[in-house]
């Protein structure tokens, strides 16, 4: 049963890690908008340095509404 001495703190540490991650999520406001980020991942703004034509289709949906 000596293995428990290792396993027990390990289990608790993993749990605490999860809790810490949860607190970090909350503090950085990741729960304030649960819809936007799912779409944001499709945004190519990290490629903006490349010569993208100004009339890229991104602007089109907004004009429709």
């Amino acid at each position: 049963m000596n293995i428990l001495v290792v396993l027990m703190p390990l289990a608790l540490a993993l749990g605490l890690l999860g809790l810490a991650a949860f607190f970090w999520n909350m503090r950085t406001g990741q729960y304030s908008d649960l819809e936007g980020p799912g779409w944001r991942i499709l945004d190519d703004d990290d490629l903006a340095t490349e010569p993208v034509p100004a009339d890229s289709p991104v602007a089109a949906p907004g004009q429709r509404s």
Binding site: M1, G15, E35, G36, R40, A60, G62, S65
Partner: protein, 735 residues
């Protein structure tokens, strides 16, 4: 008319020379809109950061201090095709957000603790079934205690605080048995662990806290969604006032920026947005939203005007006495205080259950203890059994029974464009048997319309529309609207208190009062056909016409009233308007019971009379004069076009031009109440099974854990049925 706008009140000045502003954006629905806004704003020079919150339909913009004016942001969003309205970062909103976060933190800690302790407990249970080494078991129990005690002290705080508050006030709520259960169970478990016993209930306690916190959080979630949406709607209303500077310049500013002592200009056709004294000018004002009276009253310098009144004929400058929430007519103020007091006597379903529940449970536990003592058991063993009774009866399912139903039903209401402001409004709404409607702005549309459109020749309407478009008079607006908002004629002259005129084909064309146009004969015919309507005449040379402008019923008013009747409700009209205006409308809707010319105190008296006759009333109203009645009635609803005070006093606010939400909300509320009662009965049934087991002393920690999670699951699943609403007849009728 081309006043500058000043939105600087909305700007938040952060550190490092960064200014920020939050705006509610109308019509932002999809990810495409989000990209368009963020990209479009990022292209503007000076803007450091623009971030959209798609769930809340808001955008937060930051810029370098002094780089641009806040109005420019609204303008550039308008250029992108979105209407945006700035937000005032309200103090209470921040406080509520803090509370939200705190609750989520408690929930996170309780979740972590219950998972880890369960891990240890399952090992102990399976060990007990075989032959666990007592030293190992003690070790596991101590580790559980190490997790459970700080968790209970931290995450149990909402319950302890609420229970202590109730006890200090000499009352009992659901949190009192919860607190007692938690404290006793923890104490007992520590003692058991010290004595190397088999059964410690650390897992049960923490699981209880976790489930109860879920219920709390659901409750909070519902209120937050309502608050966010209400915040957006308040911003979308964008109430403004024209402030006159000392140097004679005029600036349009949001109401929030107006302070007492400012001088405000109110043009004809504009709504007065402040309370104050008339400094100069004279005019007629329509006070229907304030007093319910539709006949205009004349005001001149030195007289007092109230927010919500409509300026009809002349420009007024007003010295502000109170802005924003403002002062009220003292009579309404007094009635409100009285009405709110009577409403607060309502006891919520959960509190009613708690009142029965706590004494019964505590008496059972005590009887168990004494019973086992008499039976000859040692006192500490008898105490352990009594405490397991308390643990097993702990209202885990009860804590979820009502909030879960409320959240699901509130979401169902949201989809029908109905905002629930308080959870317990559902319970009150379900008990209603009489619906009391206000007339003006509730049964009728908030804006008047043209009644005799069919009798007017199209070319007459077009000509009159050109004149009417030049005026902001409330009676001219429906004519311009019916004519399709034409371009105003160039040479329109306004004749104070009479009407408008312009030269067309070298003949003077007039639009205005009947006498101004010399149209007495036509007016007599029109007033015979539409006795309640206001008349506006038009004359061009020999040609002459009379327009009848009147309040129009909401498009589905008749169908909604039929629908309410089908639900078994009585319908009553209480209006502040004249009898001649109310009677034909009541007949058209088939409502036999109506009262006209009701002052706010008479409305309250009528509600009291109905209540004394054993009827539960739902008040539906929109005016300042309805506010006391809205607060007084058993439940209340307001359309979104209502005055601020009316909305604040109503339990429920509905959007759109239709009345169908009234019947739809009643249906959902009744279903919700049925589910709540079912859930409470389930909790009773659960206790009827579990308590004898506990009294017999068979309630091991394993039994407690299974019973607790099982019952919570059942009530939650039952609550979810509230969202599965088939298409209601109300929707079919209105479709």
């Amino acid at each position: 008319m081309a006043d500058g706008q000043d939105l600087s009140i909305f700007v938040r000045h952060g550190s490092g020379g960064v200014a920020g502003m939050e705006l509610a954006v109308d019509g932002m629905r999809c990810a495409g809109c989000m990209h368009a806004i963020e990209r479009g704003l990022a292209r503007e020079t000076g803007i450091l950061n623009a971030r959209v919150n798609l769930a809340l339909k808001r955008v937060t913009v930051e810029w370098r201090e002094g780089a641009l004016r806040p109005e420019a942001i609204v303008a550039s969003l308008a250029a992108l095709g979105f209407k945006a309205y700035p937000f005032l970062p309200a103090q209470e909103r921040e406080a509520a957000q803090q509370e939200d976060k705190q609750l989520l933190r408690y929930l996170g800690v309780a979740g972590f603790a219950s998972m880890n302790i369960m891990l240890l407990s399952v090992s102990v249970w399976s060990g007990n079934a075989n032959d666990i080494n007592p030293v190992t078991r003690d070790f596991f129990h101590w580790v559980s205690a190490l997790i459970a005690l700080p968790t209970a002290a931290y995450a149990g705080r909402p319950f302890f605080e609420s229970a202590l508050r109730a006890l200090r006030a000499g009352a009992v709520n659901m949190d009192v048995p919860i607190m007692l259960g938690i404290v006793l169970a923890l104490g007992m478990s520590v003692v058991v662990t010290l004595n190397h016993g088999e059964h410690a209930y650390f897992d049960g306690v923490v699981m209880l806290i976790f489930f109860l916190l879920i219920g709390r959080y659901l409750d909070q979630l519902m209120r937050r969604r309502t608050r966010d949406l209400a915040g957006n709607l308040a911003a979308l209303k964008a109430e403004t006032a024209t402030r006159l500077g000392a140097d004679g310049t005029s600036v349009v500013v949001p109401i929030a920026a107006i302070a007492a002592g400012d001088l405000v200009l109110v043009r004809p056709g504009e709504r007065v947005s402040v309370d104050g004294l008339v400094e100069s000018g004279s005019s007629e004002i329509d006070q229907s939203l304030v007093t319910g009276e539709t006949a205009p009253a004349s005001v001149s310098a030195g007289e007092r005007v109230h927010a919500g009144t409509l300026n009809l004929s002349g420009a007024l400058t007003i010295r502000v006495e109170a802005a924003g929430a403002g002062t009220l007519l003292s009579e309404i103020d007094r009635l409100m205080a009285q009405a709110v007091e009577s409403r607060s006597r309502y006891v919520r379903l959960s509190d009613r259950a708690a009142r029965l529940y706590a004494p019964v449970v505590h008496a059972t536990a005590l009887a168990t203890f004494l019973g086992w003592m008499l039976f000859g058991l040692a006192w500490h063993q008898a105490l352990i059994i009594a405490i397991t009774v308390l643990i097993i009866t702990c209202p885990c399912a009860l804590g979820l029974a009502i909030p879960a139903v409320q959240v699901v039903s509130a979401a169902a209401l949201f989809r029908r464009k109905v905002m629930l402001k308080q959870g317990d409004a559902l319970e009150r709404l379900a008990e209603v048997d009489t619906v009391v409607f206000d007339k003006t702005g509730t049964l009728t549309l908030p804006e008047p319309g043209l009644s005799n459109l069919a009798a007017i020749a199209p070319e007459v309407l077009a000509a009159a529309g050109g004149l009417a478009a030049a005026s902001r008079h409330p009676l001219a607006r429906p004519i311009a609207m019916a004519a399709g908002e034409p371009r105003p004629l160039d040479t329109v002259r306004e004749h104070h208190g009479l009407g408008l005129s312009a030269m067309v084909d070298d003949v003077e064309m007039r639009l205005g009062s009947v006498a101004f146009c010399g149209a007495e004969a036509e007016a007599a015919a029109a007033s015979a056909a539409y006795p309640a309507a206001s008349l506006i005449a038009w004359r061009h040379g020999a040609r002459c016409a009379v327009f009848a402008v009147d309040q129009h019923l909401r498009p589905d008013a008749a169908a909604s009233i039929r629908d309410l009747r089908a639900l078994g409700l009585d319908v009553v009209i209480l209006s502040g308007d004249r009898l001649e205006a109310v009677a034909p409308l009541a007949v058209a809707l088939g409502i036999a019971e109506f009262k006209a010319g009701q002052r706010p105190n008479e409305k309250i008296a009528e509600l009291e009379r109905l209540a004394a006759a054993g009827r539960r009333t739902l008040m539906v109203g929109d005016g300042l004069n309805d506010a006391p009645a809205l607060a007084k009635a058993h439940a209340s609803m307001s359309p979104i076009s209502a005055t601020q005070l009316a909305q604040a006093s109503a339990d429920i606010v509905f959007l759109g031009e239709e009345l169908a939400p009234v019947a739809a909300s009643l249906r959902i509320a009744r279903k919700a109440r049925r589910l709540m009662v079912q859930n409470l009965w389930f909790a009773v049934l659960y206790n009827a099974v579990a308590v004898p087991i506990a009294i017999a002393g068979f309630a091991t920690p394993l039994v407690a854990a299974v019973a607790m999670s099982g019952s919570s699951l059942v009530v939650t699943l039952n609550a979810l049925r509230g969202g599965r609403q088939p298409a209601t007849p109300a929707r079919e009728v209105s479709a």
